[in-house]
């Protein structure tokens, strides 16, 4: 499989007045064509910032990619002009956001909003555009597609709006679909439907997907491979089976332990003690050291590199040669 997206050694800084924070540190991962890559991690670990960077949607004045590269389909996203980015967004890469209630414009009809990417990227006649819109609305399981295009977002339920968002993303048949917590804001039953839909669409097309979530259950259900992020870095990367069977990083182990299915009989859910350090609180050592039950002296003074065991990578000193990891960077 070829790599559709390569994120290499990505570093992102935010400037707010005089204070500078660095929420993304040396992030590496790849998305292969046709696969669903899951990105999982607690709130604030940098999942959304990473995905916005891939879209070239970081706020231009207050943020900066200080180091690293984002190579999509052999093009460097981080070097593109706004004009070049506009040609790619909604066309080759699309994004679905977390909040279906606020992500559609309240003063334009669904049809008007779905026209935009087609007008922008495809040379179709008005009739062809409408046909395409109805086709995609049907593909995402919207009943009464012909009527819906003349309705306004507030007339639709949250689940329907998220389907509209998905159809918006699919209109131009992108190569990569980024879904940033696409179901977090929805009811459980609707969540399952939407995930099922996304899975079906990926299977039917040649598209790849980056699925961002903090729910390992969703990862298990949907993804081929997983990237686990912690405090702005990738701490583990593996295939789904491998990650669930043989987690290597203590943080991943903690996440798996907190899944309800594994401690059903306990009265309270397990949760990892302590707090994620904020970007400006990170010191010399391992970012997870303050919460890690295996932390040693070395963890506090030196940040671990990435070790790999076959296709499985983790950023933890426990994988030092003694355990059989190979220093991979």
């Amino acid at each position: 499989m070829t790599n559709l997206l390569e994120v290499n050694n990505l570093n992102i800084c935010f400037r707010n007045g005089k204070s500078i924070t660095q929420p993304i540190r040396n992030v590496n991962f790849t998305v292969r064509s046709g696969e669903i890559l899951g990105i999982v991690g607690e709130s604030g670990c940098g999942k959304s910032v990473t995905s916005l960077a891939v879209m070239g949607l970081l706020p231009p004045k207050s943020s900066e990619i200080t180091k690293g590269e984002i190579i999509f389909n052999e093009q460097h996203i981080e070097k593109m002009s706004e004009k070049q980015l506009q040609n790619i967004r909604g066309n080759e890469v699309s994004m679905i956001f977390q909040e279906p209630m606020t992500s559609l414009n309240p003063v334009f009809t669904i049809g008007q909003q779905l026209m935009e990417p087609l007008k922008q990227h495809k040379s179709l006649t008005k009739v062809q555009r409408k046909e395409r819109i109805i086709e995609v609305l049907k593909q995402v399981g919207i009943p009464r597609a012909e009527q819906i295009i003349d309705e306004y977002p507030h007339q639709l339920s949250g689940g329907m709006r998220q389907r509209v968002m998905i159809s918006l993303a699919l209109l131009c048949e992108p190569k990569l679909l980024i879904a940033d917590e696409p179901t977090t804001a929805l009811d459980v039953t609707i969540q399952a439907q939407i995930l099922e839909l996304l899975k079906r669409i990926i299977a039917e097309t040649n598209m790849s997907m980056m699925l961002i979530t903090h729910d390992l259950g969703v990862i298990a259900e949907m993804c081929h491979r997983v990237v686990v992020m912690y405090a702005g870095s990738v701490v583990e990367e593996a295939s789904v089976e491998e990650l669930f069977d043989n987690p290597l990083h203590p943080y991943t182990k903690g996440l798996l332990k907190s899944l309800p299915s594994q401690n059903e009989r306990k009265s309270a859910l397990y949760s990892i003690a302590g707090q994620v350090p904020r970007p400006n609180e990170l010191g010399q050592g391992c970012a997870f050291a303050n919460r890690c039950e295996f932390a040693t002296e070395r963890c506090l003074t030196a940040a671990p590199p990435v070790f790999s065991v076959a296709q499985h990578k983790a950023k933890c000193w426990l994988l030092d040669e003694t355990v059989g990891g190979v220093f991979s960077e």
């Binding site: 879209m55 949607l57 706004e82 506009q86 040609n87 790619i88 967004r89 909604g90 066309n91 699309s94 994004m95 956001f97 909040e99 606020t102 992500s103 559609l104 414009n105 309240p106 003063v107 334009f108 909003q113 935009e116 990417p117 922008q120 990227h121 306004y152 507030h154 007339q155 968002m165 918006l168």
Partner: protein
């Protein structure tokens, strides 16, 4: 919709009625009109005679009752001075006031919306900073002072434009610019802040993620969303604009309702004052009524309900 119209019509009636009642009692508190327009050496008996003819000697509530009874039939009485119909006199001045207020509105919209959009788009640039500073000044200048300044500059020093009177476009320039200055500043600031707010919304990010170019993001998407609050503000300010016309009409001797109202107030020509207040309150309410309908038109969320 019908429900809405009926409800709002009732509101209009109540507002107008309350305004008239308040003004009726307020001007009566300020004293008896007869003494003012009779010569100083008029004898007490003659004054009493006049009060009787005009009905001012009766108890206030009786006069009020009679006033309301007539007003409902559209009769506001005659001018105490000229004997002409009070309402007729006011209506005759209305076109001039409208002309002034709407020219000012037109000028302010023409300038403030593009200026506010541009300032928001170029946020924190030199242009934005200058625009914001200018709006602060524009909102702070008292209109009579600005009026005098403009008269001094353009009429006295350079003799480019007439300083007073009405009747032609040239006469309209200085008063409408004077009246517009405050609104330009206010609308510009408001457009800028509304646009900034809208540009941060999730749906703008969605449009951006669909590849919409910056131009259409700002001019098509964000502007349409901003128009809802802008129209509301403009409509609410129309009343203020009509009111502001009163002051400007005095400075430039513009022959509108405001000038007539002020003159009549000084002369204690009560029927004209009440007819004027009636017209202004009525127009003010109707304007807000129309604003609500417009608001519903641009905001589909309200339209459906």
């Amino acid at each position: 919709m019908l429900d809405f119209v009926v409800k709002r019509s009732l509101q209009v009636i109540i507002v107008v009625f309350l305004a008239l009642t308040a003004v009726f009692f307020l001007i009566r508190l300020s004293g008896d009109p007869t003494a003012l327009f009779l010569p100083p050496d008029t004898s007490r008996e003659q004054i009493e005679e006049y009060r009787e003819i005009l009905g001012f000697n009766r108890p206030l509530y009786v006069q009020y009752g009679e006033f309301v009874g007539n007003a409902i039939q559209g009769d506001f009485g005659q001018s105490l001075r000229s004997g002409e119909s009070a309402l007729g006199l006011v209506l005759a001045r209305l076109p001039a006031t409208f002309q002034l207020a709407f020219s000012a509105l037109f000028i302010s919209l023409l300038i403030s919306i593009p200026l506010g959009v541009l300032a928001a788009y170029k946020r924190n640039s030199i242009f934005d900073r200058i625009a914001v500073a200018a709006t602060v000044v524009g909102q702070a200048i008292p209109s009579f002072w600005l009026g005098l300044l403009l008269i001094y500059t353009f009429a006295v020093s350079f003799s480019l434009l007439p300083s007073s009177g009405g009747g032609s476009i040239v006469h309209l320039i200085l008063p409408s610019v004077t009246l517009a200055t405050y609104s330009i500043a206010r609308f510009t600031r408001f457009t800028r802040s509304t646009m900034l707010d809208v540009l941060r919304k999730d749906y703008i990010r969605t449009a951006k993620a669909s590849g919409a170019p910056t131009g259409s993001l700002v001019l098509k998407y964000a502007l349409k969303n901003s128009l809802i609050p802008i129209i509301t503000l403009v409509a609410l300010d129309l009343g203020t604009l009509l009111g502001g016309a009163v002051v400007v009409e005095m400075v430039f001797a513009w022959p509108g309702v405001g000038r007539l109202l002020l003159q009549s107030l000084l002369n204690r020509d009560f029927p004209i004052v009440l007819a004027g207040v009636f017209i202004i309150a009525f127009i003010y309410s109707i304007v807000n009524f129309i604003a609500d309908i417009l608001y519903a038109y641009v905001n589909p969320q309200i339209r459906v309900k």
